[in-house]
């Protein structure tokens, strides 16, 4: 990643991943660890239970680089990941909460 600050990174092509997972205490470590151990930064993370709480949905905002296809394949291999869907960077899920992330 050559872009160093947030405004530079924001200008790069992005993607939003929507990941359905089994809801338990370790699942976020499994998902996030795949990225951190490859020094692939996650720009945004949202997660909430869905339905009765057996499952959760994880939303990840990432910057697209050559590794993203491989990252998605790795996420799909996780035992507790049920589905992965890829969206464009303009997906509404992160835009609606931007107001909570304004610098003071």
């Amino acid at each position: 990643m050559n872009a160093n600050n947030w405004s530079e990174r924001k200008a790069l092509a992005g993607a939003v991943l929507e990941i359905d997972v089994r809801n338990h205490a370790g699942v976020m470590s499994h998902v996030v660890g795949l990225f951190s151990r490859r020094a692939y930064n996650l720009e945004g993370i949202l997660v909430m239970p869905v339905g009765a709480g057996e499952q959760s949905r994880v939303w990840l905002k990432v910057i697209e680089d050559a590794r993203l296809t491989q990252m998605i394949k790795q996420v799909e291999k996780l035992e507790d990941v049920l589905a992965v869907r890829r969206h464009g960077a303009d997906h509404a899920v992160f835009e609606r909460i931007e107001e909570f992330f304004r610098a003071a």
């Binding site: 370790g26 470590s29 151990r37 394949k73 790795q74 291999k77 035992e79």
Partner: protein
């Protein structure tokens, strides 16, 4: 999975059992007959329950890493998931290297660790470590069990995950209170078994067959997945039918007999010149259960530069990871090859086979001294001559490993047990013990070096205790040979920290551990002494000094293209 496994069954009367007893019963139902481990506080309830099992033999390792590699040896020799055990804290951390090694070589392993009671997790309790967190990146999957009830689901699932698709290690961390929790068991789950492999794309098979038909200079490139999938027969059939010169990765050795006319042996960093030259000329590379590891490919951009690529692997994330495939097929390689065979036309491919024969004649593997038992190649050849193809061959990691990979006539899948991906010194002796425990009818020979053997030397005591039919061939050059070689070749001969100033008396060391030892240095007839030692049942260490300045040749310098080999 063994055919004797019981199906799911409801018990006539519910039994009240502890979590520990449930795990033991599930392992028994799984068909597990040998486990390796070391007890400690947090796993004592489990050990107490295990003491009552009549069908499971516990092998007491002398270090948890040894237990992990013994389980690996069992799994590599049989292809079935094997079990290792450790307590919490240092017991678990000592297992990590063996687990990571299993991950990189896709070995089905189920590691069961004790954990401090749930109420104490997160308090820095005695011998508490975050085993779950530590093992996330080195397992295929892991579990932290929170109730005895959960064990009925988790234990069979652990075996299913370890054995399904691309195999790998699974860790189950069980807090002590869960081991002690008593519940009523009304029904036993079906033992975990490998899930049916996913369906593959039939159109891609046709495309692959057409590419093989159209190719003028194809090469078949076999990886460890061929062994894991039990596809060696199909791979050889394909090679023979379509006249495909065949290379193997370190992990695939034995898949095609090395003296098969189509075999080019091992490719890559220490492959023969003819092998790497043939790859450089090929116009089609058919990769089967191989992952384009950097030790196999050298500089990737220069690997098979003129070739189109067919890549078959059960793990979809391997396709296009290093090299983009023209046809990628995600599927079980055994099933895919089976489907491919009838669609491939028999063809003589005379010109290409003649060219490969020319390369073999002009640039064969050089094995100087192969007739002299006191040389490294000669020791390997004499060992092979004293044994047959039923013997299992394990190695440690270093120069001896590469010499054995080059020169031992491997002819059988699962004959060859070596630490490929992680390259773990210390792998050899405990893995060989595990193989000998799993298949006591075979002779298991472990080639090792004086650097490697010291990294798990304590398991000599375990070998003596178990009386395994293990012959350790120790090639002693009083150095970390591969480090010494790299420093000699690429670091201006500054051979720093690679020569041992003090070397133990390995003969007395083996004897002190309860193992017979033979010193080939001290005999006038080393060949006869070697043969006699190999043919006498039970554990034995065979010691031979070798020349420190011998190198593994050819060698592709790190980062260079495979055709830029030095030596050989």
């Amino acid at each position: 999975m063994s055919p004797s496994q019981p199906p799911a069954s409801s018990t006539p009367q519910p039994e009240t059992l502890s979590g520990a007893q449930i795990v033991v019963r599930l392992l028994e139902r799984q068909g597990i007959t040998t486990v390796a481990g070391i007890p400690g506080g947090a796993i004592l309830p489990f050990y107490d329950a295990l003491s009552e099992s009549r069908s499971i033999h516990h092998v007491l390792a002398r270090h948890e890493q040894g237990a992990g590699f013994m389980a690996q040896g069992m799994a590599r020799a049989t292809g079935r998931p094997a079990v290792c055990l450790a307590s919490s804290g240092p017991g678990a951390t000592n297992l990590l290297t063996a687990i990571a090694d299993a991950k990189l070589d896709s070995i089905p392993l189920v590691a069961i660790t004790g954990q401090v009671p749930q109420a104490m997790i997160g308090t820095d309790a005695f011998q508490e470590v975050d085993t779950y967190g530590l093992t996330i990146p080195i397992t295929k999957h892991n579990f932290l069990v929170s109730s005895a009830e959960e064990l009925l689901r988790v234990i069979p699932r652990a075996f299913t995950i370890a054995a399904s698709g691309r195999p790998g290690p699974v860790l189950v961390d069980i807090p002590k209170d869960v081991q002690n929790q008593r519940i009523e068991v009304h029904e036993w789950p079906t033992p975990g078994a490998a899930e049916a492999p996913p369906a593959f794309d039939s159109a891609a098979i046709d495309a692959a067959a057409a590419m093989i038909r159209a190719a003028e200079r194809p090469i078949l490139y076999l990886g460890g997945g061929v062994v894991h999938s039990g596809a060696a027969r199909q791979a050889v059939d394909l090679a023979e039918k379509a006249a495909l010169p065949t290379v193997m990765t370190l992990m695939a050795l034995g898949a095609m007999p090395v003296d098969h006319p189509l075999s080019l042996g091992m490719l890559g960093m220490h492959g023969a010149r003819c092998t790497n030259f043939a790859l450089d000329e090929c116009d089609l590379l058919i990769a089967v259960g191989a992952r384009f590891d950097d030790r196999a490919t050298g500089k990737v951009a220069a690997f098979c530069p003129g070739a189109r690529i067919i890549h078959i692997d059960i793990d979809p994330s391997e396709l296009d990871k290093i090299k983009t495939a023209h046809v990628g097929i995600a599927g079980d390689v055994s099933a895919v090859l089976q489907a491919l065979l009838p669609r491939v036309h028999a063809m003589p491919r005379t010109a290409w086979l003649a060219r490969v024969a020319r390369l073999k004649a002009d640039h064969p593997l050089q094995t100087p001294g192969i007739d002299d038992v006191r040389s490294h190649y000669g020791l390997i050849a004499a060992t092979a001559a004293a044994l047959d193809d039923e013997a299992t061959v394990a190695t440690d990691v270093g120069q001896h490993q590469m010499w054995v990979a080059q020169a031992y006539p491997l002819r059988r899948p699962r004959q060859w047990l070596t630490s490929g991906g992680l390259g773990t010194m210390g792998f050899g002796v405990p893995a060989a013990i595990g193989a000998a425990l799993a298949e006591p009818q075979r002779t298991v020979v472990c080639f090792t070096g004086d650097g490697s053997i010291l990294m798990n030397i304590q398991e000599l005591v375990t070998a003596a205790e178990e009386g395994v039919n293990l012959k350790i061939v120790l090639m002693n050059n009083a150095s970390l040979g591969l480090v010494y070689q790299q420093q000699s070749m690429f670091y201006g001969k500054r051979t720093f920290a690679s020569k041992f100033q003090a070397v133990p008396d390995f003969i007395r060391l083996a004897e002190a551990c309860g193992i017979r030892a033979v010193d080939l240095d001290a005999t006038q007839a080393p060949g006869a002494a070697l043969t006699a030692a190999l043919r006498t049942p039970g554990p034995c260490l065979i010691h031979a000094s070798i020349d420190r300045d011998q190198k593994v040749y050819p060698m592709v310098p790190p980062g260079a293209a495979n055709k830029e080999m030095i030596g050989g």
